[in-house]
């Protein structure tokens, strides 16, 4: 469904992605592992077509259509949603407004405010709070809920477990796994190997802007050692 081919991305003169190639099939949960500074966020931003980084060569095929040359809102219109690093909620908007800014509350198709609140009852309790008045876990729930409101077929999640308490991380893993089961494709950037293994069907290891290892979760369950070697864990 999503095919990233030989992508080269730059921040100014800094060459960050050196020919990254990977793919995500429909309904597949794919984890992207790698240490800090290896280009994981750069890849997510490249796919979303955000202003930085600049993609100089390569291709980003979504259902056969080239995404390069589109603006971020056009990418989102093709049902690719972003749960960005650091959540990036809107401090001036209430929880409900985060969800209704895209769709009127009266729309009953696809993801609705009620469905998001059903999935995250905590958010329903906090519906009139503003984005910056929530706890870390609630913020992440809202960031996920907001992304779902575009009725995505693929969600790009950039380190959703970052900075969360262990119990919250588990809750999030359940949510991601359940979303994956509904047929939603997820490309998950994750530093925590065990979180990634808990939800992913397939894993990639990114190193200095290149995929150096690809493995299915089933294979990792049989033998962890090759993956560990690529992650620099011995």
């Amino acid at each position: 469904m999503l095919e990233v081919k030989n992508l080269h991305s730059f921040y100014g003169d800094a060459h960050v992605l050196h020919g990254t190639t990977l793919h995500v099939k429909p309904g597949e949960v794919v984890a992207l592992l790698g240490r800090n500074g290896m280009g994981k966020t750069t890849l997510i931003r490249s796919i979303m077509r955000l202003a930085q980084p600049q993609v100089k060569t390569g291709s980003l095929l979504w259902k056969g259509e080239e995404l390069l040359g589109l603006s971020p809102h056009e990418v989102a219109k093709r049902r690719i949603a972003l749960v960005p690093q650091g959540r990036r909620l809107f401090p001036s908007l209430s929880v409900t407004e985060h969800l209704t800014m895209l769709k009127a509350a009266s729309v009953k198709e696809g993801w609705t405010v009620d469905r998001v609140f059903e999935m995250f009852p905590r958010l329903a309790e906090r519906r009139s709070h503003r984005g910056n008045q929530l706890s870390g876990g609630e913020r992440q729930m809202l960031a996920v809920g907001r992304a779902l409101m575009i009725d995505p077929e693929l969600v790009l999640m950039d380190e959703p477990s970052e900075g969360l308490a262990p119990v919250m991380v588990q809750h999030l893993e359940t949510i991601i796994a359940n979303l994956g089961k509904t047929g939603l494709g997820i490309l998950l950037v994750e530093q925590n190997l065990y979180s990634a293994l808990a939800v992913a069907d397939r894993l990639y290891v990114l190193e200095t802007g290149k995929v150096v290892h690809e493995v299915s979760a089933a294979e990792v369950r049989n033998d962890q050692s090759p993956l560990m070697r690529f992650l620099g864990v011995h």
Binding site: L50, A76, S92, E97, M101, M149
Partner: protein, 286 residues
């Protein structure tokens, strides 16, 4: 408090209402598009002249005001789509560009309307004075005060009770994220630019009746608007209202009590506020 009385305070409040109308447009554009639109004063002046001409021709005050808002909103579209798009993301170039546009518009106004001072004709029902306290006060200035309140209320409802308002507020917080949610932020920007410009036009039209219209009026209103927005904080509607009240009242108090320090009375406190709250009273870091 020698010389300070109810009339002076009303003068301050009505001036504040006008300042709010103009500065609210300025702060909307500044907050969302991150553009310090130095042509805002010129749009104000143009709006005033257009309202003056249309009202003169038709004898209809409301028509004059509306045509001013419409024309200036269209000038905003031309400015945004025709010029500012080429310097997107370069803040200094944007500011210099709008400064250049301000000069060009000012000269253009001089060519079209000449250097005389005009006063926007006021409709019959707003002429004369009403009894306030122990004295009389011009009806028209009270009308401006009410209009300022109406504009505040309308903008507040737009920003806080509509989807466009939510998008504008979200855009002030994080425009890139709004874009990543499938919203064409350019359209929100353009709508905001038109709205902000039309408020400058409205200000010029109603302000033209009591501040009069003359070739340097644009620079004066611009300096006051800048002070209002800097005090209130970028992009904040409530900030613009509080800033306008502060500047309006300080201005009339200053003129009465310390006429030789009139400007210092406004810009002294502004500097003091900035020293302690660099983002203004209601400003937030980007």
């Amino acid at each position: 408090m020698s010389g300070l009385n109810l009339i002076q305070i009303l003068n301050g409040l009505t001036f504040a209402a006008l300042l709010f109308i103009v500065a609210s447009g300025f702060t909307l554009i500044f907050g969302l598009l991150r553009i310090v639109n130095l042509a805002h004063g010129a749009l104000y002046l143009f709006g005033g002249y257009i309202a003056y001409s249309v009202t003169g021709m038709t004898g209809n005050f409301a028509l004059g005001v509306l045509s001013s808002m419409l024309c200036v909103a269209l000038m905003g579209v031309v400015l945004d789509l025709g010029l500012l798009r080429f310097v997107r993301g370069f803040e200094l170039r944007q500011v210099l560009l709008t400064l250049g546009v301000a000069f060009v518009l000012n000269d253009l106004a001089l060519v079209i309307w000449g250097g005389d001072t005009f006063s926007m004709p006021v409709p019959e029902m707003l002429r004369g004075a009403v009894r306030v306290g122990g004295g009389f006060y011009p009806k028209y200035r009270l009308f401006v005060l009410v209009l300022g309140l109406v504009v505040f209320l309308a903008l507040w409802l737009l920003l806080n009770r509509t989807r466009l308002g939510a998008l504008i507020r979200a855009g002030v917080d994080d425009a890139e994220m709004v874009e990543a949610m499938g919203i064409n932020i350019r359209r929100v920007f353009l709508a905001t630019f038109m709205l902000g410009a039309s408020l400058a036009g409205l200000g010029g039209a109603v302000g033209g009746a009591f501040l009069t219209l003359y070739p340097t009026a644009d620079a004066e209103i611009l300096v006051f608007s800048l002070a209002v927005v800097i005090i209130g904080g970028r992009g904040s509607l409530v900030g613009a209202a509080v800033g306008a009240l502060l500047v309006g009242l300080l201005n009339s108090i200053g003129q009465v009590m310390f006429p030789e320090l009139a400007y210092f009375v406004i810009f002294g406190p502004m500097a003091a506020i900035l020293a302690f709250r660099p983002l203004g009273l209601f400003g937030r870091a980007a």
